[in-house]
Amino acid sequence: MPQLEFADFAPQLVWLAITFGLLWILMARVALPRVSDVLLSREQRITNDLDAAERLNNEAQEALKAYETALAEARAKANALAVETRAKVQTEAEAAQAEAEARLAERAAEAEAQIQAARNEAMGNVREIASAAATGVVTQLLGDVPDDAALNAVLDAELANAGVN
């Protein structure tokens, strides 16, 4: 078995010491510190990021709450305003309507009075025309001018009968 050649032990051990010693130094001084640096900084970074995420999340929660309160306030204000406006509009409309109605009533009364006057005038003319016509007819028929009193009496009766006056 070549493993039991004692003459070969020394060179193996010498080179084992050299290579392993070198490896040990390289790992301890160069390689491993670099790895641990990176691992540490990554852990630090992740922890920081998580903290930041949590903080931002809390801020978002607060913002949401503030938003909700603001929204509720605004809605309440809008409601109040709406109610007020509606009331105001209604009062104004009612006032305007009342005014218009009053004006209309006035105008109607005026018109009625005018009509009455016109009618009365017209009625007066009717009597005159009827009187003239009756005088004319009687004169033509009888050849004689009728008595004024008798004519007036007949006219009054007829007009009353026709419902004028």
């Binding site: 992740i46 998580l50 995420a53 999340n57 978002a60 929660q61 509720a72 605004a74 809008a78």
Partner: protein, 132 residues
């Protein structure tokens, strides 16, 4: 885990009805709380993942490999040292017999120690798992 943003978050944000006159909107109808508490769960999860991990179970297979050699080297030690002592003290074969016995016992002792260590390690691991 639902992805943040996109349709999920956006649709919710835009679902807010325009507040009409005298119309009451329930606050929970918007439910942005859902999205925010989801973020919270995700942060917790990420934190748990960032915790230093405990050892994985590599060495169980190695235990079987260890035990045989432990026993043999005990006996071999007894033979070699016993023979050397015998030739030095001229007590052939008594020192060898004694040392083979002691060596075997020592080998068994090492096997027991290995097994005990392994059990202890597994118990510790189980405990850690249960604690989580």
């Amino acid at each position: 885990m639902t992805a943040l943003g996109g349709t999920h978050y956006g649709a919710r944000a835009f679902k807010v009805p325009i507040p009409g006159i005298g119309q009451e909107v329930g606050l929970d109808e918007r439910d942005p709380d859902g999205a925010l508490s989801e973020i919270e769960t995700r942060i917790q999860q990420a934190r748990a993942e960032n915790e230093p991990k405990t050892e994985q179970n590599y060495s169980s297979a190695g235990v079987a490999f260890r035990i045989g050699v432990d026993l043999i080297s005990g006996v071999a030690f007894g033979v070699v040292v016993g023979l050397a002592l015998d030739s030095w003290l001229d007590t052939t074969p008594w020192m060898m017999i004694l040392l083979i016995l002691l060596g075997t016992a020592a080998g068994i002792r090492n096997v027991i120690r290995t097994a005990a260590l392994e059990t202890e390690r597994q118990n510790r691991q189980n405990k850690q798992r249960d604690n989580r």
